[in-house]
């Protein structure tokens, strides 16, 4: 009969196993080569300053009759890099959309530097974004386009949609903050006492590292400790390790935010909640969400700790659209792009919704 293991024996056995895993992990990490990112083929079709607009090559295997005619432009956030949309073959929203017959364009804002520190929200909403959409309209021969805004890019897209509704056939917002002053919004609470003017005047552009440090602080024990301990469970699985490293690269590959853009966004959107209040003005033009009259599909994540659902859901009440739909994805801010269920659900729902409105 086996003698039950004492707590001390169990502890020392566990520690021994843990050390073995760490050693194994270090060996596995040392053997990992360069991490490849992206899977779908694309071409740069327009550029302006540091911005590049890409068109993804439509998949030949999708029959003509299954294609959605109106092109879709993805407006990503300025925080982090847009390759999250096409991280790897089995984790790619863009690949999923291409497989479902969409003509996909993606705006890559690039890495802003000191020369961009005085770019404001109006430069994006009244300059870069319209230029990209005008280009797509000309190139595709479709006077109207579909716009998909992601996170902060969704907020910019809403501003655009309110100012230029005639250009958009449909608008999709993903994990997009609209009302920044809801009780769950920890980032808003943290910025309440921050002198944003002084911050922007001092740092110039808002360093990506500083933003990352802030995001890590939202869940410090999970994000700086447990995450790496959990990695040891999959360290001997090369695919899992590669996926982890790819995500790690994306998380910390953070461009700086243009200083003035950051200052305006934090002051007007976050602190003063002007978009939701209907008091936002860009270059003398009032941005009113009731002018967002095209069909709207609002996708948010139920466990999003960065953009809580309560920040996204008010769009239904504020938008002027009579054709509003929403989808509450059961997951977090990142899981909505990379989780297994997201690969099945999100592109399917987007494609189905657009197809119905592609007359």
């Amino acid at each position: 009969m086996k003698t039950p293991e004492s707590a001390v024996e169990q502890l020392s056995r566990e520690m021994g196993e843990f050390n073995q895993r760490v050693l194994k992990g270090l060996t596995a990490l040392a053997q990992t080569g360069d991490i490849r990112i992206g899977s779908a083929e694309k071409d740069a079709v327009y550029s302006e300053d540091k911005l590049v607009l890409y068109r993804y090559r439509p998949l030949a295997e999708v029959p003509e009759k299954q294609r959605i005619r109106t092109p879709l432009v993805i407006c990503y956030a300025l925080v982090n890099r847009p390759y999250m949309m096409d991280l790897q073959p089995d984790r790619s929203l863009i690949r999923g959309l291409l497989q479902r017959g969409l003509d996909v364009y993606l705006i890559d804002w690039g890495y802003p530097d000191g020369a961009d520190r005085f770019l404001g929200i109006d430069d994006y909403v009244l300059g870069y974004l319209p230029h990209c959409l005008d280009h797509v309209a000309r190139a595709s021969g479709s006077p109207q386009v579909n716009l998909l805004g992601v996170c902060q890019g969704g907020t910019l897209s809403l501003c655009y949609a309110a100012l230029f509704p005639e250009r958009l056939r449909n608008l999709i917002t993903m994990v997009t903050p609209v009302d920044f002053r809801t009780p769950e919004n920890l980032l808003t609470k943290w910025t309440e006492n921050v002198d944003v003017d002084a911050l922007a005047a001092t740092t110039g552009n808002m360093p990506g590292e500083l933003l990352n440090a802030l995001f890590l602080r939202l869940m410090p024990f999970r994000l700086t400790s447990q995450k790496y301990v959990d990695l040891l469970d999959h360290i001997d699985d090369p695919k899992a390790l590669e996926n982890f490293l790819r995500m790690e690269k994306w998380i910390f590959d953070s461009p700086d935010q243009p200083g003035e853009m950051f200052r305006q966004f934090m002051t007007w959107m976050v602190k003063e909640n002007r978009l939701a209040a209907g008091t936002l003005e860009l270059a003398g033009k009032r941005v009113e969400l009731r002018n967002v009259t095209m069909p709207v599909f609002n996708i948010y994540a139920t466990q999003d700790h960065l953009v809580p659902p309560s920040a996204s859901m008010p769009l239904e009440r504020l938008a002027g659209s009579s054709d509003y739909s929403s989808y509450a994805f059961p997951g977090g801010h990142i899981g909505i792009y990379v989780s297994g269920s997201a690969q099945r659900e999100v592109p399917t729902r987007i494609a189905q919704w657009l197809r119905k409105r592609d007359a």
């Binding site: 520690m15 609470k189 910025t191 309440e192 110039g204």
Partner: protein, 278 residues
């Protein structure tokens, strides 16, 4: 098996106590660090005092030599016991030491150092450096306050952890080993931190620390730019000014381009009509 569960609870309790002791130690180190600034000021005061005394001793020796020389000079009168120069310097030295003792009262010396307006050729530089020192003091103070809050978070998390370990020991799911215990610790820490992080006191403190850090950075930048100008090197302020000018020019150009395009569109039918009539 029950023994094993009890043992788990016991080593978990030991670990929690050990962490508490470490937190207390960290709190002590933190408070002595906070006092470090005052010690530095006192040390500076001591050095000033020494320097002043040495200087006055030197002057007194000079006065003594002068007195001796005068007494030994041909035609000098009878030696007097009074040495006017020496008495003056003795009085001066005593006054110097007394004033330093008074200034050393809590906050006295540091207040004196920071509130006296700088004078002379380097007044601007001194003022800039003094502003850096003040901002640095603010950052250090707020960092200590934040560290104290975070220590409280850890301490409360340990209390919650101890309760959870006990509660689970009483159920069918006692803590199963170190990893399980670690995950529970993370869970408790996040729970406690989340409550603190949403509190207005924490939001205020974190915001203040951010603002103080920016003040420090801005003041350091000012000092650096002062130095760069001495060597006719470009500064960030100059580049900012150039970028702003470029941006304004680009905006004006875009407006002009827009107007030009609109004019072309407006006049196009008239041009076509003229062509047709030719």
């Amino acid at each position: 098996m029950e023994d094993s569960v009890e043992n788990h609870a016991s080593w978990a309790q030991q670990w929690i106590e050990q962490q508490r002791a470490l937190l207390e130690l960290a709190a002590q180190t933190g408070s002595s660090k906070a006092e470090g600034g005052f010690e530095q000021v006192n040390e500076l005061r001591r050095q000033w005092s020494e320097l002043g005394k040495t200087y006055l001793d030197g002057l007194m020796q000079m006065a003594q030599s002068a007195n001796s020389a005068a007494a030994d000079a041909p035609g000098a009168g009878p030696r007097s016991s009074a040495q006017p120069g020496v008495e003056v310097f003795e009085a001066w030295k005593a006054a110097w030491s007394n004033s330093l003792v008074q200034a050393a009262a809590p906050g006295g010396w540091s207040e004196l150092l920071t509130s006296t307006p700088p004078l002379g050729l380097f007044r601007e530089q001194i003022e800039a450096w003094r502003a850096v020192a003040a901002a640095r003091g603010d950052v250090e103070r707020l960092e200590q306050e934040l560290a104290a809050v975070l220590r409280r978070v850890q301490s409360d998390a340990l209390t919650l952890l101890a309760e959870q370990v006990k509660a689970r020991a009483a159920t069918a799911q006692p803590v199963q080993g170190f990893r399980d215990f670690y995950n529970l610790w993370v869970e408790c820490s996040e729970q406690v931190f989340s409550i603190v992080a949403h509190s207005s006191a924490y939001c205020h403190l974190q915001g203040e620390l951010g603002n103080a850090s920016m003040r420090l950075r801005a003041r350091v930048q000012k000092v650096i730019e002062q130095g760069l100008r001495q060597f006719d090197l470009p500064t960030r302020s100059e580049i900012n000014s150039l970028h702003q000018q470029v941006r304004l020019l680009k905006q004006r150009l875009a407006v002009l381009e827009g107007e030009s395009t609109a004019r072309t569109i407006e006049t196009a039918p008239a041009r076509k009509a003229r062509k047709r009539s030719r």
